[in-house]
Symmetry: C2
Subunit: 379 residues, 2 copies
């Protein structure tokens, strides 16, 4: 089976040597690893993360940051402190399913805005806010850079427009940024949090999540939240009740890994490997499918979002599995009105040969689905 389905980073790209060395250094302060740590994270890790964010163009104070068990926990904590049942939350569509699930768990009223190759359509959002078809949203959730599932990156112009809307309509932009460092083509676009300093009043309107899961290793379970100090404080209080603290041991390892500069050394290797995988996938899709498939080639991240017009992806999936290739049907990423011709292909895990063979299998499965569909139409 060749899998384009996973959302996991490539295991064979983990910097095992660097992480082993970091673990050995962390253990030199074994009590730090073994005892409870502060709920908001080890101070030395926060120092490293503040420095990392500075390299990404963001100035932040330690009291605006908390360390979480992956950025997923950051979202859970934020929604718990920010959302009351029935509050309106806007998400891009298609969107990361765990976010939709987290919003439902908080009984939010979920409103969706479509995404294109340039990210969430801010003009549509502006029009719907102006017309009153979206009323008093509490927050808007977006993965603006190499989104899951679309791979799309929000343009700089749209980022600025979105920040202005957040100030005008007084909602919080929840910027989820696990993939931003995985750029392998095109020019960098500052995060919404970095750009917020250019829009008066916007900095108080952005909560930013990031993580080491996609650029170092998920097993550390080290994510972080940057939020206005009062929101950060409330998230820390919630985390006291939720799990007291994330593992200080893996936090200590992450501290040593970052302090040694290993992220900067190793990250280009990951990005280049993903570039080659992405090119293999996109080239194969073009070669095998030609104009039969539509997709936008991403400039980073792990995902290609595709449409095969005229093919019911739900019907394609069993044929694909029979042909030993798997992917995620696009409808999993829709809160409403699913696009049944869409699918998400992750290029992170398979190697380039597997990617090319996987696309060939996908093509054969698509032909089988078309033949079956045509036969049933004529039956």
């Amino acid at each position: 089976m060749i899998s384009f389905a996973g959302g996991y980073p490539a295991s064979d790209l983990f910097d095992t040597a660097g992480l082993q060395a970091a673990a050995a250094r962390a253990w030199q302060s074994s009590m730090r690893c073994l005892q409870y740590g502060p709920t908001d994270g080890l101070p030395e890790l926060k120092t490293q993360l503040v420095a990392l964010m500075a390299r990404r163009g963001v100035t932040c104070a330690p009291e605006e940051m908390l360390v979480t068990t992956g950025s997923q926990q950051g979202l859970d904590l934020l929604l718990r402190v920010l959302l009351d049942p029935g509050d309106t939350a806007v998400t891009e569509q298609p969107a990361y399913p765990a976010t939709l699930q987290a919003l439902r768990l908080q009984q939010a009223h979920v409103v969706t805005v479509p995404v294109d190759g340039g990210g969430i359509d801010v003009d549509v959002l502006a029009a719907r806010l102006a017309s009153g078809s979206i009323v008093r949203p509490k927050l808007l959730y977006t993965v603006p850079t190499f989104a899951n599932p679309t791979g799309a990156t929000l343009t700089r112009e749209r980022r600025l427009a979105l920040l202005h809307l957040a100030v005008q309509y007084r909602f919080v932009i929840v910027e989820d940024d696990p993939y931003g460092d995985l750029r392998f083509a095109g020019n960098a676009v500052p995060s919404l949090l970095a750009l917020a300093s250019e829009v008066e009043g916007a900095r108080d309107r952005v909560v930013h999540f990031s993580s080491l899961s996609k650029v170092v290793a998920p097993g550390l379970r080290v994510g972080w939240t940057i939020a206005p100090a009062e929101i950060a404080r409330r998230c820390v209080i919630a985390k006291q009740t939720v799990d007291l603290c994330s593992s200080p041991w893996t936090q200590a390892i992450a501290t040593q890994y970052l302090a040694a500069g290993s992220l900067e050394q190793h990250l280009p290797l990951i990005a280049q490997a993903y570039r080659r995988k992405c090119e293999a996938l996109c080239d194969s899709l073009r070669t095998q499918f030609g104009s039969e498939i539509g997709f936008h080639q991403p400039e980073g991240g792990m995902f290609v979002w595709a449409r095969i017009p005229g093919v019911e992806i739900d019907a394609l999936l069993p044929n694909a599995i029979a042909g030993k290739v798997i992917f995620v049907p696009g409808k999993a990423f829709f809160a409403d009105d699913p696009d049944t011709a869409s699918l998400r292909l992750s290029f992170a895990a398979p190697n380039e040969d597997e990617i090319r063979e996987g696309v060939a299998r996908l093509k054969r499965a698509t032909q089988a689905s078309r033949t079956a569909s045509s036969a049933s139409a004529h039956a």
Copy 2:
């Protein structure tokens, strides 16, 4: 400053050699440490924990168990899937404050039942259920063995009576058991979960939390929940949204530690050290305070609960801090109607000399408080 205030286990009792060896063995499967793991926990860890529970007299299946970020997260997940706003939750009183906070976060209606030296007063509970002064409780939370804060252990008779009440009134017993293995005196009493097999229908009414935090090291953040399969399944679904998984790296270390039998080897050392510390504390309290203080000497755990009748503990605390000794005023552990003469003393962290000196300081601070109180009464 000598601290009786902490709830942390003694750092100098951690089995650093055993944990270092376990970490080295875990790293032999480095991909297991670094990649995402299953939401319900690494299967090999669950195998070890099922075996550990069997040694504690509990038979359970893997699908009745999930691994959590400390047992604290187990409680948070359970309350999220079990409680609706306004549901009645019964707790022992005094109780662990984070539990009270977690219940409030879920907007529970909290009802308290008093604790004495034999744990929660099940006769009072039975009477209040029979009279209708407690109506349709959804759950009852208890730390039945070496409770935080009281150190008390629920008697076997009361355990059986409580299990019968849970069946009769259809509530869930939430048994939090982080300290049960820290017995250093008296005879073992089976957990409520173990005894549930003796009461028809009771096994479906018990959710059990345990943790390696107090018997191995909190930094692992490894706790576990045992619940009826349907409740466990719902907790796992909630955990997918909350943090995807607890750190597989520290789970892998815990697996190796347990598989090597290190817990059984090292635990007696911790228990014996705590026995000596507990005896030092209780002997000093008797020597210094005589009949001026009331307390029940615990048979395990980390805490002594004391009362100094006629002394306002809130007024004592600043005198104690000025005299370089600290503790937690008892009122922190009350949901309502606080006992202002009570205090919690933890013997886990200080050594025996510090404990004796700390009690002497506490005695001097108490005398100062009485003198001040008497002076103000005569002023």
